[in-house]
Symmetry: C2
Subunit: 437 residues, 2 copies
């Protein structure tokens, strides 16, 4: 039996997909560079222990390798934990970096609808002790720029703060050891109605019905500066130290976002919780509001296309002395955006070129391979992107057909006459105009 | 115990290294695109069976993952076998593609001197049934272009053909089942003298001393077109069908390389064997001849910086009906070239910028954060690469120092006066010249 396939949840990217992905990534990288980020690279293979205890329940999704003579290795689950490991290991306390690379999650095939086990992440992070909310505001600006640059349609960036959420839980009477679990339940509010979330809180998570109801009043709120002011006046919440800190910082954040001119797309949303354990402050998530094309919506689903937040404690988990390096970062949901662009391209019928060849070196009759080889070599040496057919005596029609099929705009034709005159006939493939040069 | 490290033979690439690598890769990719190649991407995770039986003895170096509920996965060992699997799986019979990605080899730590277990490969391949030696010649042209573009110093590209080698073994009396093992012994000739190779042949490999001596007469030959002509007249070799085919094709190859104007750097070298099992025709390897800098030579070692060849049987191994797709390809030894460039950069004392920031937005006194945020936002929106310090009230000196440290050429300074006049003071960091704009 001959096995011919790829592993579950992994896939090849043929040229058309790879070209679209390149185009998408170059938009994202341009933005990261515009904001002064440097590139770094970390291994796909990490020590197993580096990844353990960082992802809560999802730790079970980590791919592990067979024991390498006592060295236990695993495939990275995201780019954030390796980044924190890198900072702690090299005692770096100040960096702005981006990293685009594949990560690995052994997601349950049953739950894997349009989700992959090997996929790209696209991260930008700012590490360092700075004045509050300035780097956080830049992360939101970056999300705004990228989603605008990619012309994905209307979007909103939901913002919240883990400290505000924890304050809400505290004033609603949730015991502190249930904050994280309450958080992950609230996180479902973007997919299911409050009633369902409430019953999970009261049932599975064991909160009192009164606490759940009180939480419900808060987490269904969303708005802008008004809401922040209102909550700062809230008799209960304003008494909670963490919530107050979070709300003051949120106010500052909105001030900065106003200067950036992007508050129109920002929503302070108390239902936003984000799954990961390591967030400690601001959290955010960008959602596409609608697709201009119904067909696309159906296939891809409208959902989160970027997210991130502040994680001030993660680096400290790797430092022998627990020294903290405050970090805030954003991850662009490149796979989802890629699916949207791919569907859109398909719907438009546009064909993306997979190569950049400018000219095909062609001959109108036989016995001219030497002339083609000589000319193409000169073109390459001059930095021109050129191809020729790998046949000794190809028909001219075949050569021109190749141009049409692959989108090569020009053909440089050398025949006996051209050779004798020391010229080349340059033909515009689409207009069929020819000039001798 | 806190574990803080990376796995054996893996490493992080901090910004300076990542920037150098980006520069290097962009030179290589430019060349691949100049020759009309499309990008493809295949998974790092391959089915274990895809990789088995393709690498001879080196199969033991493949990293295997823990059983995923019956799915046995492994990390790719190179990009060539996954490429062949991709072609067979999608029934592609004609493509020119490049692929730059990491591969994994569980090399013995003892033998790992400057070799990594996770490293980049950089491959260009042409698949399809074409007239002989045209794509093969292009692969050599590509190696020539890349090594020239990178200004690595003088180099030579050794060329041979597996059919010629097999012909040599046949006429020297080596039994056919010992061709591959004889091949791998000959392959050592670039590192050890003939005497040692001979004794391995006679000892370990069990060839007769006479056969070994006869082989020795051939494999120590190298030259150009003259040598090809001479061997075509060789009374024994010219009687061997395979050798004759190989020699005629080699002659054709030299004809094409002459048209490309690159025979000056090409050496037909009968000692070149190349380790991998799957080669079936032309094989080649580029070697740097000398370093302009002795220090570099010592640290990095002068060795192969590119290699490749023709493998017409590999795709057929994946096709249920064994249909063959002829392929020829080249792999650029990016890790070795990277080490050379890195050492050279270090020796030169030059500091490579890790970011591309064009301007730092700065303020000369306090209370101007809002002005900075407004200005930088305008710059970003205009596509200008801009940074600012993440402090509310940074000292001007600190801001200018940051420019000098990170190589930012310009500072855009806004103070009360500039705000009142509606201008910005643009300062050239190195000359200290200032203009108001």
């Amino acid at each position: 039996r001959l096995v011919l396939g790829t592993g579950q949840g992994t896939r090849d990217h043929p040229p058309a997909q790879a070209a679209l992905r390149d185009r998408l990534l170059s938009t994202v990288v341009s933005c990261f560079k515009r904001h002064g980020a440097a590139a770094i690279d970390t291994p796909v293979l990490e020590l197993r222990e580096t990844l353990m205890g960082k992802y809560g329940e999802d730790t079970k999704l980590i791919y592990e390798l067979q024991d390498q003579r006592g060295e236990l290795l695993a495939l990275r689950y995201d780019l954030t934990v390796p980044f924190a490991r890198y900072l702690a290991m090299n005692k770096i306390t100040n960096i702005k970096r981006y990293h685009i690379a594949k990560v690995y999650r052994r997601d349950n095939p049953a739950t894997t609808r349009g989700r992959y086990r090997e996929f790209y992440q696209c991260d930008f992070d700012i590490a360092g002790q700075f004045d509050p909310m300035i780097p956080d505001a830049e992360c939101l600006k970056i999300v705004h720029e990228i989603l605008s640059d990619l012309q994905l349609g209307d979007f909103v960036i939901k913002v919240n703060d883990r400290r505000i959420l924890n304050g809400v839980f505290a004033v609603c009477g949730v015991p502190e050891n249930k904050f994280i679990t309450a958080c992950s339940t609230v996180d479902k509010l973007d997919k299911v109605p409050w009633e369902e979330v409430r019953s999970e809180m009261v049932g599975e998570k064991g909160l009192s019905p009164e606490a759940a109801d009180r939480i419900g009043e808060y987490v269904q709120l969303h708005g802008g500066l008004d809401l922040i002011e209102q909550l700062l006046q809230d008799p209960k919440l304003s008494q909670n130290k963490l919530a107050k800190e979070g709300l003051s910082d949120m106010k500052l954040l909105f001030e900065y976002l106003t200067l950036f001119g992007i508050t129109g797309k920002i929503s302070f949303d108390l239902s936003l919780a984000r799954g990961l354990d390591y967030y400690t402050g601001v959290i955010f998530e960008a959602v596409l509001l609608q697709q201009e094309n119904e067909h696309v919506e159906e296939l891809v689903g409208v959902g989160s296309v970027a997210g991130g937040g502040r994680y001030d404690g993660l680096v400290g988990m790797f430092d022998p002395k627990g020294r903290k390096v405050p970090c805030v970062g954003v991850s662009i949901g490149i796979e989802r955006i890629f699916s949207i662009l791919e569907q859109r391209l398909k719907a438009s019928g546009e064909k993306l070129r997979t190569t950049e060849t400018q000219v095909l070196v062609a001959t109108p009759h036989k016995q001219l391979l030497a002339a083609r080889l000589k000319l193409i070599s000169e073109l390459w040496d001059a930095g021109i992107k050129a191809e020729m057919l790998y046949k000794k005596d190809p028909k001219l029609l075949k050569q021109l057909q190749y141009c049409e099929d692959t989108g090569i705009p020009l053909a440089a034709i050398v025949g006996e006459q051209e050779l004798a005159d020391g010229v080349v006939k340059l033909r515009d493939v689409s207009t069929r105009e020819e000039v001798r040069v």
